[in-house]
């Protein structure tokens, strides 16, 4: 056995947008084992449920993460609505689906940019984020916010999108598709990009299952599981299939996310084409009493919102299991046997969100 050394990686590192630390046990340039340390920014947002009532907590849930803030608020509202047996209006379901898919779109474009930056392709990074800005502009025009929207509420949504704006979004999706294809072709076909992604950090289908991987991380290893297929919000009325790849390497994870970018655009167009008229919110009466687990598909994978209520305006418990938390064990597995130079790319290919993890 070669002499082993331990290299501390993080919590501050140029490729890490948020703090996570790994102790990398090395034999020469090869990682033998990785031991994670998190908890640099734990905020205790779940504990805030004791101070904020069940309606105010929607705003707290949105602040779990700045990337999928809308879906955090939506997942929490869906749990409370299930406990209170509230059926939200059809139009609200479609609006929630559109904002969810716009969130996935900007999250995956953000990830593409970060990944390009990690392997030193700066112009690709800038183009990815330039395109992402267009999605943030849609958020600003439809909700008033670019990061936190505050449009989701228990019983529906607070804001509607006008017919003119919906037409504008549908038209934008067509031009956006061509622009996105220009950069995704580079991600999928450029030799220098492929040399950093193909065959790097392979996670087999069995390993992905055994380690509880979720989202694009699992689908890139051949697991065809996507919570949207269970038909929450308006997904039951939309025609789509989970995007799956088989090779389980960093390239496959990129391939899946790129496939999901185009799929999101298609889902948004389908929603706009069959968007029903009508109310966007129903009035809530009384306080929730009971418990419910909601599962939905965030950009990074399956997320769980457990809500336990006692019939008063304060809840007993809100618990959020985020996709990054579920994907850390799979990340540790992919790091085994990789070169030190590939560690940043591998951390990024799970699309880590430490803000979510340290809710």
């Amino acid at each position: 056995m070669d002499k082993r050394t331990i290299i501390p990686f993080g919590p501050q590192h140029p490729v890490l947008p948020e703090p996570i630390h790994l102790d990398l046990v090395m034999e020469d340039e090869v990682v033998v084992q990785a031991i994670p340390q998190i908890g640099y920014v734990h905020r205790g947002l779940e504990k805030l449920v004791e101070k904020k009532d069940f309606q105010q907590y929607t705003f707290v849930a949105e602040r779990i993460c700045g990337i999928c803030s809308f879906m955090h608020g939506m997942g929490y509202c869906m749990s409370v609505e299930s406990i209170m047996d509230v059926e939200i209006p059809e139009r609200a379901k479609f609006l929630r689906t559109i904002w969810s898919e716009l969130s996935r779109l900007h999250s995956h474009l953000l990830w593409l940019g970060l990944t390009a930056d990690a392997f030193g392709f700066e112009s690709l990074f800038m183009h990815s984020w330039r395109l992402r800005e267009q999605v943030l502009d849609i958020f600003e025009q439809t909700t008033g916010g670019r990061v936190i929207f505050s449009v989701v509420d228990i019983g529906g949504v607070r804001k509607d999108i006008s017919e003119d704006m919906l037409k504008k979004i549908a038209a934008l999706m067509d031009t956006f598709e061509k622009e996105v294809k220009e950069i995704t072709d580079v991600f999928l076909n450029d030799a220098s990009v492929k040399s950093r992604l193909v065959g790097v950090g392979v996670l087999t289908k069995q390993q992905a299952h055994d380690l509880g991987a979720v989202g694009p991380m699992a689908r890139a290893s051949g697991i065809e599981e996507d919570m949207r297929t269970q038909g929450y919000a308006a997904y039951g009325k939309i025609n789509f299939k989970p995007i799956v790849a088989q090779s389980g390497d960093s390239y496959a994870r990129t391939e899946v996310r790129i496939g999901e970018i185009f799929q999101s655009m298609d889902i948004i167009k389908q929603c706009i084409a069959i968007m029903p008229e009508g109310e966007i919110k129903v009035k809530i009466k009384g306080f929730p009493n009971g418990e419910y687990f909601t599962r939905l598909e965030q950009p990074r994978g399956e997320v769980i919102y457990y809500v336990k209520a006692n019939g008063s305006k304060f809840l007993d418990r809100v618990r959020v299991r985020t996709p990054t938390f579920a994907n850390i064990p799979a990340l540790l597995e992919t790091l085994k046997g990789c070169a030190l130079a590939d560690v940043p790319i591998l951390i990024l290919t799970i699309d880590p969100c430490i803000s979510c993890t340290e809710r």
Binding site: I35, Q37, I38, G39, Y40, H42, G44, E46, K47, E50, S82, I83, D85, H209, D210, L211, G212, E225, T229, Q230, G290, Y292, F293, R295, E302, I304, Y306, K308, N310, S312, F314, D316, R317, R319, R321, F325, A326, I328, P329, E358
Partner: protein
């Protein structure tokens, strides 16, 4: 409200029930903890969208076995529960000994609830 399966088990049944689900091909989705009137632990599993839960009610003095020998990745959930709620769990495969999160307050989620 859609039906959700929550089966109650005793601490003695935890490992055997978890092992049965593992052998049936279920994935451990999450372990959740609530501290109202004692400790309530919920182990959630999924197999092709079939979502089931095992519920364990214990008091603060009870020590339970880790399921990380059956599901190795359970160590993160179990460390979190130990650190935030003070639940006693033995034989966790990777035991952070209450240093998973760098928090200044010991078992913060186990504090007595304030009057509302």
């Amino acid at each position: 409200m859609a039906e959700q399966t929550i089966g109650k088990i005793s601490p003695n049944e935890l490992l055997s029930e978890t092992l049965r689900l593992k052998n049936d091909g279920y994935r451990l989705v999450a372990i959740s903890c609530t501290n109202k009137e004692g400790i309530e632990l919920t182990y959630s599993f999924d197999k092709e969208y079939d979502f089931i839960n095992l519920r364990l009610n214990i008091d603060y003095d009870t020590t339970i076995e880790s399921v990380s020998l059956i599901y190795p990745y359970a160590f993160l959930y179990e460390n979190e529960i130990t650190e935030l709620f003070g639940v006693k769990i033995t034989n966790i495969s990777v035991d952070f000994d209450s240093t998973l999160y760098r928090i200044g307050v010991k078992t913060p989620f186990n504090e007595p609830k304030e009057e509302k």
